[in-house]
Amino acid sequence: MKVTVNHDRCEGHAKCQQAAPEVFQVRDDDLSYVLLADVPAHLKEKVDAAIRLCPRQAIDWEK
């Protein structure tokens, strides 16, 4: 499964990094980057939490 961060919306709140540090990293440009091309099943719940907690609704599973 693939997850994406929309950089038009991301404002570096880092909620995703707190929820799923294995998957998201906020860098010096204040944008969150996806570290894994494919999210393994055991991290799905954490990524769901990141999607839910993102204040700017910038994260979603790739459809």
Binding site: D8, E11, G12, P55, R56
Partner: protein, 431 residues
């Protein structure tokens, strides 16, 4: 409520500003959450009809769907920005804010406009200003030395956000008082204290509220029109107005109207909300001395204490959206064109989400409150609010750990902002 008579849901009128002057506000919200979480209010002589949304999950669902729940037709039930008003008071004559001001806009334009300035508001960018914010805070507190009869709102709480937003907007120190005054008249337009430009006999009426807000709006626009003129003449500074004047969306510069509305919004939003979180926070620390003692004993709780202050106060009382199509929410049929009011003090005390919601708990974890909204319109200034609150309470309690509320709390008569106008305090001994 003091009375033992059960409140009937049909009698609840959240538009009535008087409701929000009293602690009983929370009892009404509790009843709505339990009995009618999506509740239709048919309107009264001052306000048109709207749905009240009082549950946490429902406010998330509405906020996260701007296609279905639009901001472009107004974000407040206040008479001054009603969509059917011919002249929304947020604009003066000739200026209509609907669809043109960031907060009154939907994607995709909202995304693009917000991107022009949001780099200056990220937690990291804000964090770099901590030193400056601390310097300003100390200066404000220095001004209290030897003072008696301190009004915490006017002398302290209002001063920090005012100084920060004015500095970001390039407004010089001499004009801060004007910005403070115009903000009060805009947000407090429904409160007789700020209607002194209206003949005495008319104060307290809806017409007085509208006139007060319109005059303040016109003055604010006139002020920033002057700024715009200077910018057009070539002046540039290290501030947001300089960014906005050069900014382009799809190869087009902002219109004069858009520029003025942007400035207006930033001054108001930067000023009013954090002020009330600081004041409301001090009030909470006075009412819950054990929580203050806990925080003073363990400063590592400051971040969670700040979040709890924001949840507890929920300075923005409501925002509205307008349905763009027929839909359903928690079993209620919403029709295209219906307005929905999201009540933040209610969702932030939702029993299904917060354990002991009526307890002020400086260590509350998790605390995913919605006081800053969520999704498309998540508060741009949340990082500033959090940092200003943190620095203010750190510096305030370091000097005056025993500061207490020492007189009547004068609340703002408003259904939109949970404001405190005046808060007399006794500073106690300076450490």
């Amino acid at each position: 409520m003091a009375t033992n008579t059960p409140v009937r849901v049909a009698e609840i009128n959240l538009a009535d500003p008087e409701v929000h002057l009293r602690a009983g506000q929370h009892e009404l919200f509790r009843i709505l959450r339990a009995e009618a979480p999506v509740h239709y209010f048919p309107g009264d002589e001052s306000f048109g009809p709207f749905w009240s949304v009082t549950k946490y999950d429902d406010v998330i669902a509405v906020s996260r769907n701007p296609q279905l729940f639009s901001s472009e037709k107004g974000i407040s039930i206040a008479p001054v920005i009603r969509p059917d008003d011919d002249q929304p008071a947020a604009g003066g004559p000739g200026i209509t804010a609907l669809g043109k001001m960031l907060i009154l806009m939907d994607p995709p334009r909202h995304v693009r406009l917000r991107r022009l300035i949001n780099k200056g508001f990220t937690p990291r960018a804000v964090g770099m200003l901590e030193g400056e914010i601390r310097r300003i805070t100390r200066e404000i507190l220095d001004g209290l030395d030897g003072r008696q009869g301190v009004d915490f709102v006017v002398d302290v709480a209002a001063q920090l956000p005012l100084a920060v937003i004015c500095s970001m907007m390039g407004v010089p120190e001499k004009d801060r008082t004007l910005m403070f005054d115009l903000t009060n008249r805009t947000i407090g337009s429904g409160d007789a204290e700020y209607q002194d430009a209206v003949p005495e006999a008319e104060r307290g009426t809806r017409a007085a509220a509208r006139q007060t807000a319109q005059m303040a709006g016109m003055q604010m626009f006139a002020y920033f029109a002057g700024v715009l003129q200077e910018l057009r003449a070539g002046r540039r500074g290290d501030d947001i107005t300089s960014i906005l004047v050069d900014a382009e969306i799809d190869g087009e510069k902002l219109s004069d109207e858009e520029f003025l509305l942007f400035c207006f919004l930033l001054i108001i939003a930067g000023n009013e909300t954090t002020r009330n979180a600081i004041s409301g926070g001090l009030l909470a620390f006075s009412e819950f001395p054990a929580q203050r003692a806990r925080l003073l004993g363990d400063p590592s709780l400051m971040d969670s204490a700040v979040e709890e202050v924001v949840r507890w106060v929920s300075p923005v009382t409501h925002m509205t959206r307008v349905a763009t199509a027929d839909t359903e929410l928690r079993g209620q049929r919403i029709r295209e064109g219906d307005r929905l009011a999201m009540w933040y003090p209610s969702v932030n005390r939702d029993e299904d989400v917060f354990a002991d919601p009526y307890t002020f708990d400086v260590g509350r974890t998790p605390n995913e409150h919605l006081a800053f909204g969520i999704g498309e319109h998540f508060c741009l200034g949340a990082g500033f609010a959090r940092l200003e609150l943190k620095v203010m309470f750190e510096e305030l309690f370091a000097r005056y750990p025993a500061i207490e509320v020492a007189g009547p709390v004068e609340r703002l008569r408003s259904n939109f902002i949970g404001g405190i106008k005046h808060l007399p305090v006794e500073l106690g001994p300076r450490k």
